[in-house]
């Protein structure tokens, strides 16, 4: 399992516990990071730049650090 996919799972967990609208939050994360969360799967190769962008997006949209 790639780190990117693991990050995606953590995000989905956070969304679930936060009670926020999942489609809206995922949309904002996707637009900010420049990637579709739906396209991240276990075999997606790790990309440090993509991971950093996604973490930054999470910080800006959900105000949490992963």
């Amino acid at each position: 399992m790639s780190q990117l996919y693991d990050l995606k799972l953590q995000i989905e967990e956070k969304i679930k516990t936060s009670g926020l609208d999942p489609k809206d939050v995922k949309g904002k994360l996707g637009l900010r990071s420049g990637m579709l969360l739906a396209l991240i799967h276990p075999t997606t190769p790790d990309n440090p730049e993509a991971i950093a962008k996604l973490k930054q997006a999470v910080k800006e949209v959900m105000h949490v650090s992963l």
Binding site: P22, K23, D24, V25, K26, G27, K28, L29, G30, L31, L36, L37, A38, L39, H41
Partner: protein, 389 residues
């Protein structure tokens, strides 16, 4: 509020319009007030000048009418023709107090040419035999017809009327003269208009000694040294400021001039003066006029306030209208597109963008909905998503 949003920029532009509009109206109102105040001030001076002329003409008519009556009295005619001073005085003396109550202060009989001396002075019977040699005397002698006008003499500045007196054969036996002090005009003018007036005489035409004697006789303060070039003959206000003037009376234009607008307490006044000429056309004095324009000023202020409040209200309503139109027609629909676009990226492939109108934003909504469908169709062919859908 986002400072770089269109809404903020539009609001800022509209508020700027509001400020500029109010400032513009204020400037216009100020200009209008200044102009109207100037017109009112000019009208006050011109009105006072007209009123003075009317009073002058009325008094000349009155003196002429009185002299007409005397001319038809055979006893007076014969007494004057016979140069019987005692008899003439006996016949006329009782009339003088009555005429004085009507404003006639001077009444004289003059002998004919060549001497043309004062034969009888009803207002000062003990003094006679002096030759006055004034402009009006020379004119009546030259024309043998009624002449009238203002004349500054030792006895003061008065409007006078002098005309020939004839005997039963129609020969000129002398002249009769009436005069009224101009100083009393300003009190009549004040009672009619409520404005304040001051009558000034140029020192060039007033005898210093006589002025001092006259002040003593009338128990008035000798004001000769109060001003360098003129003396105040009379005024309707105790205030000295109404007759403040630095220029030369001879330089005052015939139509008069406005000197200033000033505030005293809560009241606003305008002050001006117009020249007074003697019968020879020489400017020997001037009359000050002070008018209270507070009511006009307050009315202008009230109009100004109403205009500003109305303008601010209209512009505020305009701003609200423009902002609500922009919100309904543009901002809210753009926000809806953003929400749907965000949700599509988040995996909501069902929510559509509703095209609400065929306007510019509607065309964008249609375009974006078409784009959304293409995007969803593309995603539908991504293998990783097919099993999830």
């Amino acid at each position: 509020m986002k400072w770089n949003s269109i809404r903020t920029k539009v609001l800022a532009a509209l508020l700027a319009c509001l400020v500029v509009g109010v400032a513009g109206i204020l400037m216009l109102m100020r200009y209008s007030f200044e102009r109207n105040a100037q017109v009112l001030a000019t009208e006050s001076v011109n009105g006072a000048e007209r009123l003075f002329s009317i009073l002058e003409a009325r008094e000349i008519s009155k003196m002429t009418a009185v002299s007409d009556v005397l001319l038809t009295n055979p006893q007076i005619r014969d007494a004057f023709a016979a140069k019987d001073r005692e008899r003439l005085s006996e016949l006329t003396a009782s009339l003088y107090p009555q005429l004085k109550t009507e404003g006639i202060t001077n009444w004289m009989f003059h002998t004919p040419e060549p001497n043309m001396v004062v034969f009888l002075r009803l207002h000062n019977p003990s003094k006679f035999g002096d030759a006055l040699n004034r402009f009006l005397d020379k004119e009546v002698s030259r024309t043998h017809a009624l002449v009238s006008g203002n004349e500054l003499a030792k006895a003061g500045f008065a409007v006078r009327m002098i005309r020939p007196f004839h005997d039963s054969k129609g020969e000129v036996t002398g002249y009769i003269e009436y005069g009224e002090e101009l100083g009393q005009f300003i009190h009549a003018m004040k009672s009619q208009t409520g404005d304040d007036y001051g009558l000034l005489l140029s020192k060039k035409y007033v005898d210093r000694e006589f002025w001092a004697d006259s002040a003593a006789a009338w128990k008035r303060r000798d004001n000769w040294n109060d001003n360098p070039s003129f003396v105040v003959a009379d005024k309707t206000s105790d205030s000295e400021s109404i007759i403040s003037f630095d220029g030369e009376l001879a330089g005052v234009p015939a139509s008069g001039m406005v000197l200033e607008r000033y505030q005293k307490g809560d009241a606003i006044f305008v002050r001006g003066l117009f020249p007074i000429q003697d019968a020879a056309g020489t400017t020997v004095g001037a009359m000050f006029v002070v008018r209270d324009i507070s009511s006009f000023y307050l009315a202008m202020r009230r109009t100004q306030t109403i205009l500003i409040v109305t303008l601010v209200a209209v512009l505020a309503i305009g701003i609200l209208l423009v902002l609500s139109l922009l919100t309904g027609l543009v901002f809210r629909r753009l926000e809806r597109i953003i929400v749907v676009a965000t949700r599509v990226v988040g995996g909501d492939y069902e929510t559509e963008i509703r095209v609400s109108s065929d306007d510019e934003v509607g065309q964008f909504e249609r375009l974006f909905e078409q784009f959304r469908r293409v995007f969803v169709d593309v995603l539908a062919h991504v293998p990783e998503l097919q099993e999830k859908r």
